[in-house]
């Protein structure tokens, strides 16, 4: 590469990074600035909006509900998906395509469309089972399925579960032991990956909660925003930072580990190695 071209390339790169850095960071900085504004334009900075968070019962309830939903959804996701995926790989490979198709299906059904179909089911459940907001986790599980499936699938592809489980079974382990003591420890980063993604999706969910008239964190933020913009922006910043922290953990921890048992092929499929996030994020309900 000659000198002038390298120079031009470097100017281009610096310009792009500066422009993009500004576009992406200024709104976050603006939120923080906004949330510490005083009552008047000239007034001193104040943390009042932040302390108001805990003084607003609607917000506290919303935060707690969303955290509970996130926990329930990720546990339910693991309990439902992981054994099914392992079982299909070991015993019913013919079903692999069908399970994959069903898990990825929510990607082509926008949340706003799905919620219309879910409404009668939700009404039935409210009348016959419970009116609790935690019922939402049944629907959230569908929303997180594509992302969790991809994360878990990448984890399963990186280990040789057939050999591992046959070895364990021939030593007398039951299926529960195989799952909990052989497969799960061997794909802990993929499990963490899938769980954190589920938590992030659930904490940011608005469509289902709003249209099915439940008050989760995001719905509460919007309600409170109508009364006090600064308080709701403070919660928004807090929830954002929390989600960022989760996802940052995920993007650094979530790489397939090097020292786990692997198939004969020394190089796992490049797709699963490159970026555990890349495809996982497509179509997150916004």
């Amino acid at each position: 590469m000659n000198r002038s071209r390298r120079l031009r390339l470097n100017i281009f790169r610096v310009t792009v990074f500066l422009a993009m850095g500004t576009f992406f960071l200024v709104p976050i900085a603006a939120m923080m600035e906004f949330s510490t504004r005083g009552r008047s334009d000239t007034g001193p900075r104040t943390m009042e909006a932040w302390t108001n968070i805990i003084k607003t019962p609607d917000l506290v309830a919303g935060i707690l509900a969303s955290l509970e939903l996130a926990a329930i959804t990720s546990i339910a996701m693991l309990v439902l998906l992981l054994p099914t995926m392992v079982w299909v790989r070991l015993r019913l490979p013919a079903l692999h395509r069908i399970v994959e198709f069903l898990c990825l299906l929510p990607l082509v059904i926008p949340a706003i469309a799905l919620v219309v179909g879910v409404f009668p089911i939700n009404r039935w459940m409210r009348i016959n089972i419970s009116d609790s907001i935690l019922l939402l986790s049944f629907f959230y599980l569908v929303l997180v399925m594509p992302y969790s499936y991809r994360a878990l699938d990448a984890g399963l592809a990186a280990i040789d579960i057939k050999t591992l489980s046959e070895a364990a079974r021939s030593l007398g382990a039951g299926w529960f032991t195989v799952m909990m003591r052989v497969i799960v420890p061997n794909m802990s980063s993929a499990i963490l990956n899938a769980s954190l993604l589920s938590v992030a999706v659930v904490l940011g969910e608005y469509t289902f909660a709003n249209l099915l008239t439940y008050e989760n964190l995001q719905v509460a933020i919007v309600y409170v925003g109508e009364v006090s913009a600064t308080t709701s922006i403070a919660v928004a910043v807090a929830s954002l930072l929390f989600a960022f922290a989760l996802l940052m953990v995920l993007s650094f921890v979530g790489r397939p580990r090097e020292r786990v048992a692997r198939p004969e092929d020394p190089i796992p499929a490049p797709a699963s190695r490159s970026l555990p996030l890349s495809d996982s994020f497509i179509g997150v309900p916004k």
């Binding site: 792009v16 603006a30 469309a113 399925m145 469509t207 929830s239």
Partner: protein, 300 residues
């Protein structure tokens, strides 16, 4: 599970199991299929059937033909425009950023930070994102006030943040990072040797992009743009929080029908709109998958 403790643990006795054991094997996937059937397939069927049923439960096409009404049709046009513009802007800006990343050190910190950040920002949407932009470009937002103090009034011709123009800008905030994530692998597939080969044959930069890199990247670029289109087309929360009146987009129209009296009068209409969305997103995603396959064949 069920097969535990049977002699099947012995690999020699494993072959596909006897007729008696087959149902037990299938039992292992029963909870999954039960769940998916109830909470994914049933709602989809409710949508599909409801779209072709009137209030009394008789089959009808009136819901689908009602989409042709001007106020509903215009929401499709509105959704299409916002999705196309934000997809194009996102794709171009995202491709430039991806190129800036791809030309750097493949193991460098910068690349790692940008890809991680892209993963985080592509996920960022909905309520929080709208509040971020209100704090930035709202009438008393940080940037608005800053520019006003320096003599520039960005809202001189009226406040545009709360209409489709503002929404398009906000959408690019998650479209650009998504583009970086999906387009970077294609850029990584471009070999420096191809450029050297072009140069040794006397080609200049323009010719390299026009005849070598451009045609190779075109299917990937187009595919990623389609994905961005589907992404914007399905978004609801961001639009719902930002735009409070009027159903300028299909998702807002669905929500309005869903929550209003008119919606109750013709319950199939919201379902028909929702079904139309599903059909459009499915077609776009199929095209995306097709182009992705083509890309992966070329760039190895």
């Amino acid at each position: 599970m069920t097969a535990a403790g049977t002699p099947a643990a012995n690999t020699a006795a494993r072959p596909t199991g006897g007729g008696r054991r087959l149902p037990l094997t299938w039992l292992g996937v029963a909870p999954y299929f039960l769940y998916v059937g109830l909470f994914l397939l049933l709602p989809t069927v409710i949508l599909a059937v409801g779209a072709f049923t009137d209030k009394e439960g008789n089959p009808t096409l009136s819901n689908v033909t009602a989409i042709g009404q001007p106020y509903l049709f215009s929401s499709f046009v509105g959704s299409a425009i916002i999705s196309i513009v934000s997809a194009l802007v996102g794709a171009i800006a995202g491709a430039l950023l991806a190129y800036a990343v791809a030309t750097g050190n493949p193991r460098g910190t910068l690349r790692r930070v940008v890809t991680s950040a892209a993963g985080v920002f592509a996920q960022f949407g909905g309520v929080t994102l709208v509040f971020a932009f209100i704090a930035t470009l709202g009438t008393v937002g940080l940037v608005t006030v800053f520019l006003k103090d320096h003599g520039i009034d960005i809202f001189a011709n009226g406040v545009w943040l709360y209409d489709p123009r503002g929404l398009t800008l906000i959408y690019t905030y998650f479209q650009i990072p998504l583009m970086v994530l999906v387009f970077l692998p294609a850029l990584d597939g471009i070999r420096p040797q191809w450029r050297e080969a072009t140069e040794s044959l006397g080609g200049n930069t323009w010719q390299y992009w026009r005849y070598v890199a451009g045609p190779l990247l075109a299917p990937a670029f187009l595919g990623c743009t389609l994905l961005l289109f589907a992404n914007a087309f399905s978004a609801y929360a961001t639009a719902a929080v930002l735009i409070t009146q009027g159903g300028v987009l299909v998702p807002l129209q669905i929500a309005a029908l869903f929550q209003s009296e008119t919606g109750q009068a013709q319950p199939g209409l919201a379902k028909a709109l929702a079904l139309a969305m599903v059909v459009i997103v499915t077609i776009v995603m199929l095209l995306y998958a097709l182009l992705q396959r083509r890309t992966s064949r070329w760039l190895r």
